[in-house]
Amino acid sequence: MDIRVQADPFAPGAVLDGFTAALSGAGAVVSFTGLVRDIDGALDHMEIEHYPGMTEAALRKIASDAMERWPLIDVLILHRHGKLAPQDPIMMVATASPHRNAAFEAADFLMDYLKSRAPFWKNERVGGVDRWVDATAEDEAALSRWGDDAANGGD
């Protein structure tokens, strides 16, 4: 399990190569990279706040839950904080398993939980004005398809 929370930029290809090189017994690797989405060319930058300490613990829990649920060989979660430019990679997940289905499903699961259960908050500066990105009902609803502690942390 490789959990990284960092302000520094990263190269998704290099991270994926490192993850893959360390595996043994894997037949499938799935990775997902999230980018800072521009808003009609108007996004100046994004700033991501997080909760040091809790962030790392929450990511470890999400990764452990995935490893309990699927026959995974390894999991990687990397998430940036601080100031990011449009199209910068924000985060990535990678999963490795003997067969592809588990790797795909686990990557999907990691993304759903990262959206709503890891203490990050996105702030976008658009046309010189800062605004907090709202959580969406869709993100919250996405957790229910995994059928477990979707209610945790809700109120």
Partner: protein, 83 residues
Amino acid sequence: MKIDVRYFAWVRERIGVGHESVETDAATPRALIEELRTREARYEAAFQDITALRVAVDQELVDMDDALGTAREVAFFPPMTGG
């Protein structure tokens, strides 16, 4: 008891500090919020809609009505937007 209370994102901005030490006998996060709301307008501004908030006790997500017990750190923040 003395609790380190932390605020993030727009909750932090409305209250004006990232964390502070609070002397309280509140039994739950909800009770702590009600207590803080009576202190100053900036708390009222941050806490006017409790359903818009999430809470972590000692860095774990909990519900507003869970017991604070011997909590050392309580954090209030809006729903998270990671990924």
